[in-house]
Amino acid sequence: VTLTPDAVLALAPDEASVHAATAMATPRRWVTLGADEAAVWGEIRGGDLYRVAVLIGEPAFRCTCPSPKKPCKHALALLLAWARAPGAFAPGVPPAWLVEWAEQRAKPARAARAGESSVVDPRAQQRRAAEREARIAGGLEDLDRWLRDLIRQGLAAVQGRGYDLWDAPAARLVDAQAPGVARRLRALAAVAASGTGWPERLLERLGLVFLLVEAYRRQAQLPEDLRADVRSLVGWTVGQDELVAGPGVADRWLVLGERVEEDERYKSQRLWLVGLHGKRPALLLSFGPPGTYFDRSLRPGTILDGELVFFPGATPIRALVKTRNHVEPATGEPPGHATILEAQADYAAALARNPWLDEHPVVLRAVVPQRLRDGWVLRDATDRFVPLARRYGDEKRLAAVAGGRPITAFGEWNGHAILPLAAFVEGRHVAL
């Protein structure tokens, strides 16, 4: 395995880590340094003597320092020092603490947790599930009544009411253990205040919430895939351990782009992938409290050779990594649509399978960014165009990268606009 210093620094969670790691990546700063074919390790004095190790192939990081960052500056510095001057590392046998950690990692996490769940009484579990079903049914019943009241009294009354109007029924749904519906309801406050055309947008969203309530009630009549979508939208989660145990889809998965979002409640990371062979899109979704550092071992512009396993659904896209053979830098361009019309047809087909589809990944080949009268767009060879999402703020960078020539653009498409996340220009991946 060869790793360039650049590739190492690309794993840093933030700019401060880059600086700190660069300063520490000198052999002189380390008390011990060692390496074999699979791992590098070392000890460095910080607030304490920290033990640091990196499994190079994945890479996986381990450090005894208290930093919440993954990887921390010590682990980065260790790998960076190795990438710069592997000669400074004494070849040898890994120390006991590293062997122990590597073994713990190799042990499938699910096996450990499966051991715990065997203690759980399956009857108690069933009873809890039945209780939750009853609570959800009650919550959705109340929501149904509330929605009808709203339509009976007229949406005009909504204007100027602010967030309270939506927060009360949303809180009721959280109590009823249907957090997915609560989230949808809370999002309506912004729609109601979104300016010209708000009544139509609001009615559309209310209609979709109503549709979800109806679908949940009649889930027994739905095809299995769509029923999985409906249950997940309401708030049921699928056991990830169970899922990972299922069959995986092997491919060379190109990491197209990343979107990290943070608000006062939680932080999320979306990594969009596409299988270079099977052309199948995938989404690796991670959640955490605000301030979370997400795994940075998969970066946009790299290829994961391995297996993904997909969450069930009518348009299965959310996935987990099941096996990871290796990660390598990407070359070439991803599969995509030659025209915007073709991409729109693909979106319509997905919408027909899952009407609650939010964000749909789309790769457009040969589009040019351009500013038209009403704002920035991507324009294809047939002169059709899609507007860029209004919250996208990097139009000038996008224009600079393209230089008025056709590029391959990747982004999230919502039926109205595209949020660009990456471009492929002359074989080069550029995060946007």
């Binding site: 700019e15 339509i151 007229g154 009544p199 209609g207 729109q344 919408l351 038209l372 002169d383 600079a400």
Partner: protein, 452 residues
């Protein structure tokens, strides 16, 4: 159902939903009537609206542009800099490390590489406020930078547009006109001044002041008549001040002669007699002398200080003797301060060095000295135990011997003052020794990534 029928039906439903089904019944007969349920107008409305909105979203035809596609940027002639260099520059721009940015630009130009396209907007923004860096930035923008500035049409980027059209002077925005003036003035100062003169009577006050100030580039005695006869007597104070600032840099100007005459009337160095003006002469204002003193300074002293600062230094004879004479009077501080201002304005290195030989309280004067003279002076001062902060005023890239002298004088926490300007050879040595300083690390990487 055609898209227009679909839209019309949805609009009808929105109307009902707005006023409420209590007041307006759900219109019957829609093509999706099978979604309706007897006795449930609210549910029927919501179900039909959801279906219609979905259909509309799925069936939407992407619109067609009726304008021409953008003009492609010309092919690049230089290679792009290495990814490591890109990341360093992004870090410098984010952190506002102006000296490191300037060094990066110089190294990239020397290596014959261009900046990565992704950094062009930030670089163009950087040049918006940092006029002195524009030439260095322009050298690494490649073909894409000027293309982008023209394509985006942001006035703050107009300086990057190669060769502004000559007719921009009559029709352009202020930024475009300033870009044209700077370009013209650099190549042909007289032609540049003629541009300013050609529209001076029609231009607004902000333009007049900015254009006069822009004549600082390539300033010579040839500009004196315009500055003296038109700009100095402008209706607006901003313009008069800009003109006076430039005239004070021209020792051969009529302005300087008037200031010399005033200075002679109030300062008799040989006799050690200094008598500030008793009253604010009405002519003072016309030469940009301010009447009201800042708090803490007497008005008469304030007037005298301005006069001496604007008078040609040559009138005082040899700097060493003049300084010695001044120090025998009670006015030493005022005179030396005013001469320091005059040295900077008139770019008089001999005077600046003489003043620094007397006092290190005015370290800004180091910028007036040629680099090697400044280094020699600071080196002596450091050896004599001067405060290490002095090195912060030597803003050029330091020579290797001087860098080593500085290292002997500043140690530990003082290193961060020196880190941005130490000679690259010394930087590489320090980093190899494992000196934990982020600036040194970054400079060492920068020299490596941008080596030609």
């Amino acid at each position: 159902m055609s898209p227009s029928e679909l839209g019309a039906r949805l609009a009808a439903l929105v109307k009902v939903a707005l006023v409420g089904t209590d007041r307006q019944p759900l219109p019957a007969g829609g093509p999706l009537e099978r979604l309706h349920r007897e006795g449930d107008p609210e549910g029927s409305l919501l179900a039909e609206a959801a279906a219609l909105a979905l259909a509309e979203r799925a069936a939407r035809l992407p619109p067609r542009a009726d304008t021409a596609a953008p003009t492609p940027a010309p092919e690049e002639k230089r290679p792009r800099c290495k990814p490591g260099a890109v990341r360093l520059l992004v870090g410098f721009l984010v952190d506002g490390e102006h000296e490191l940015i300037a060094e990066w630009l110089a190294l990239a130009a020397r290596a014959g590489v261009r900046a990565d396209e992704t950094t062009l907007p930030e670089l163009l923004d950087h040049g918006r406020s940092r006029v002195e860096l524009r030439a260095a930035i322009a050298a690494v923008l490649g073909e894409r930078g000027p293309w982008l500035a023209r394509e985006i049409g942001d006035a703050g980027w107009s300086w990057a547009i190669a060769a502004p059209a000559p007719d921009a002077w009559a029709t352009g925005t202020r930024a475009e006109r300033l870009a044209l003036l700077a370009a013209t003035r650099g190549a042909d100062p007289a032609r540049g001044r003629e541009l300013v003169e050609s529209t001076f009577d029609e231009d607004a006050v902000e333009e007049r002041a900015a254009f006069v100030a822009a004549l600082a580039l390539g300033l010579s005695d040839a500009d004196e008549p315009f500055l003296e006869e038109r700009a100095r007597v402008d209706r607006r104070k901003e313009v008069r001040t800009a003109a006076a600032t430039l005239l004070a840099r021209l020792p051969g100007s009529r302005f300087a002669a008037r200031m010399a005459e005033r200075a002679r009337a109030h300062v008799h160095l040989d006799a050690g007699e200094i008598k500030p003006p008793h009253a604010f002469d009405p002519d003072f204002a016309a030469d940009g002398i301010e009447a009201s003193a800042p708090r803490g300074e007497g008005a008469r002293a304030f007037w005298l200080r301005q006069i001496v600062a604007a008078a040609p230094l040559a009138m005082w004879g040899a700097p060493a003797e003049a300084l010695a004479a001044a120090r025998r009077t009670d006015w030493a501080e005022l005179l030396i301060g005013a001469w320091a201002v005059a040295s900077a304005r008139q770019r008089d290195a001999a005077w600046a060095e003489a003043i620094l030989g007397v006092t290190l309280d005015l370290p800004d004067l180091l910028a007036v000295l040629p680099p090697e003279r400044g280094e020699a002076l600071v080196d002596r001062a450091l050896r004599a135990g001067a405060d290490a902060d002095l090195i912060a005023h030597l803003r050029h890239p330091w020579s290797e011997p001087f860098s080593r002298s500085v290292l002997r004088a500043v140690r530990g926490p003082g290193l961060h003052l020196a880190a941005p300007r130490l000679h690259p050879t010394v930087v590489a040595e320090l980093v190899a020794q494992g000196e934990p300083d982020a600036t040194l690390e970054r400079r060492a990487s920068m020299h490596k990534e941008l080596s030609s």
